[in-house]
């Protein structure tokens, strides 16, 4: 199987050099080959398990406002801010 690591890395927004991509493709293939053992398991009619524990139904909370975090506290840990906003570089042309 050919894995397009470049495309996956872009989906995950990870900057990987050519060399890393090649190495990663090899490692990924080894791991996936092992994981394809799962295809041998008979799962006909078996429902999937996505969540665990004994909470079977989402608990809903009352719609009563709580105090929010102070903006200054949050902004202290932020990489770039301007006038109470988080600042990010411009979008590149075409996705």
């Amino acid at each position: 199987m050919k894995i397009d690591v470049k495309q996956i890395a872009y989906l995950a927004r990870l900057d990987l050099g050519e060399q890393d991509q090649r190495r990663m493709a090899g490692e990924l293939e080894t791991v996936l080959a092992h994981m394809r053992n799962l295809l041998k398991v008979d799962v006909e009619g078996v429902p999937p398990t996505f969540t665990l524990g004994d909470v079977n139904c989402l608990q809903l909370a009352e719609d009563a406002p709580h105090e929010s975090l102070r903006r200054e506290v949050v902004m202290e840990s932020a990489p770039s801010v301007l006038n109470g906003y988080f600042k990010v570089p411009r979008e590149s042309q075409g996705v």
């Binding site: 989906l11 927004r13 996505f50 969540t51 524990g53 909470v55 079977n56 139904c57 989402l58 608990q59 809903l60 909370a61 009352e62 719609d63 009563a64 406002p65 709580h66 929010s68 975090l69 903006r71 949050v74 902004m75 301007l82 006038n83 109470g84 906003y85 988080f86 600042k87 990010v88 570089p89 411009r90 979008e91 042309q93 075409g94 996705v95």
Partner: protein, 480 residues
């Protein structure tokens, strides 16, 4: 339309729910606060945060689904839609992709009478707001992000591609807006972003069984923009087809300034959202009691109110529709009726004078500038003959502008109608004396001319004369 082509339109409408707090945290969901003041670990996507679902949001979403004639799924689930964007704090949006809250509803539009099917209604969380320095996304130097809106509860209402003209799309949206407003689910304001519309439109030769390639359109800031963008797209896609080309599946952006649609991105290169069930959120199970309770507490919806006004109150259908433009307006009317006003009279005064004034002054339904009590009391004064209808129009404006009740206004300004025959007789005599030729005509049988003389009496009394009385006295004097 004599076109050889036809269009199929489907709409995806996002509506913010009227909750006090966000979908998965208890930050305020208020609109218009200073940037980044309603934020917490959850709606900022800080490490370690977990979602805490809002009961009121589920209640309102269920109410919306019932109002839209959907069947509610007793068990639904939240999924993650994964993509990167600066205003999406967790790198995924929590939505209901695989198992939505509700399915298979419809909305009826009137012209032509048609049911537009609704595919699904599901709950999701809103993203924050990006502000791009410079107007166009593409030329912006940098963007600023405010997370106040991040996590505000939304419902998405996805229609089937059942609309076949921009006008039908507009009707669908107006009806949808009205229903959701009456249901108290959302304030559905396009201008504040609490209602947002994306369109899918495909064009195919008339009668063809093969559906056309749909294009999605975004950035539609008003119903008018929706209709215009659809009309533009129809022409554009038709041109492509007529020239033997094929329509490319893509997302387009409505450029309000140029009144054209532009390519935003093609579907082929769009993100793979990697939807999967959110492991932090167990199934959302609703029981029958919950749904029944929502059903029981459903406010009256516009269709039901229109029938009531027409069938029970005897209003013309036109009046009934105007009065159900907004729940606050129909509430105002209902109050007038419950205070004893004659429905048609109340309707006339509200539709013509009150709404006319509000429109001229740009006043919204939230700020109706008059109390039903005052309007009803004014109507009583007309009924009892204390004031004339003409004077009442002035009184209505004075009530709005001074906030005084109509009786006080009438008393202070001496606006009582002159009904006493003696006073009227004197004025009428003067008018008769002043218009001999008209009098001549009337005596010659031209009865219509009486109206002219009535008008002259009204003029002299500054509208205070009781026109019915004046009429009787005039005829009496001239024809007997």
């Amino acid at each position: 339309m004599t076109d050889r082509y036809e269009m199929m339109i489907g709409l995806e409408v996002h509506v913010e729910l009227l909750t006090k707090t966000k979908m998965f945290c208890r930050c305020s969901s208020r609109f218009g606060d200073p940037p980044n003041t309603n934020i917490c670990p959850a709606c900022l996507g800080l490490p370690g945060s977990l979602p805490l679902a809002n009961m009121e949001a589920v209640r309102l979403a269920t109410r919306a689904a019932i109002a839209l004639n959907c069947s509610i799924n007793l068990s639904s689930r939240f999924d993650r839609k994964n993509y990167f964007y600066p205003d999406l704090p967790k790198g995924y949006q929590v939505t209901q992709f695989y198992e939505p809250l509700a399915q298979s509803g419809y909305i009826q539009i009137d012209s032509p009478l048609k049911k537009i099917r609704i595919n699904r209604v599901h709950i999701e969380e809103d993203a924050g707001k990006s502000i791009h320095a410079g107007d166009e996304i593409i030329t912006a130097e940098y963007s600023l992000v405010d997370f106040n809106r991040s996590g505000v509860p939304l419902i998405e209402i996805v229609s089937e591609p059942d609309m076949s003209s921009p006008d039908e799309a507009r009707q669908y949206l107006e009806k949808l807006q009205r229903v959701l407003k009456f249901a108290g689910v959302s304030d559905v304001k396009m201008e504040e972003g609490s209602m947002r519309v994306d369109c899918n439109i495909s064009v195919k030769p008339k009668g063809s069984e093969v559906p056309g390639t749909p294009c999605e359109m975004k950035n539609l800031s008003s119903f008018r923009a929706v209709a215009r963008a659809l009309a533009y797209e129809f022409e554009r896609q038709k041109c492509v087809l007529e020239q033997g080309g094929t329509v490319v599946r893509e997302t387009r952006h409505w450029d309000e300034a140029e009144q054209v649609t532009k390519v935003l991105r093609t579907k082929e290169t769009s993100d793979d959202y990697r939807y999967f069930p959110d492991p932090d959120l167990p199934m959302l199970d609703l029981n029958h009691e919950f749904i029944e309770e929502v059903r029981k507490n459903m406010p009256k919806l516009p269709d039901e109110i229109v029938s009531y006004y027409v069938d029970e109150l005897g209003l013309p259908e036109y009046d009934a529709r105007v009065l159900t433009a907004d729940p606050l307006l129909s509430g105002f009317f209902d109050k007038c009726v419950s205070l004893g006003a004659e429905p048609k009279a109340a309707s006339n005064w509200i539709m013509v004078e009150l709404l006319g004034y509000m429109k001229a002054e740009g006043i919204s339904y939230e700020n109706i500038p008059l109390s039903p009590e005052y309007l009803v009391s004014m109507l009583e004064l007309i009924d009892k003959g204390v004031i004339s209808g003409k004077i009442a129009k002035d009184i209505l404006v004075i009530m709005i502008e001074t906030g005084k009740d109509p009786r006080t206004i009438v008393k202070e300004r001496g606006l009582e109608q002159i009904s006493d025959e003696e006073s009227l007789a004197g004025i009428i005599d003067e008018v008769i004396a002043g218009h001999p030729s008209v009098v001549e005509q009337i005596r010659a049988g031209k009865n219509k001319a009486v109206g002219f003389l009535v008008g002259q009496v009204m003029k002299r009394t500054k509208g205070k004369a009781n026109p019915a009385k004046v009429n009787v006295i005039l005829k009496d004097k001239l024809l007997s």
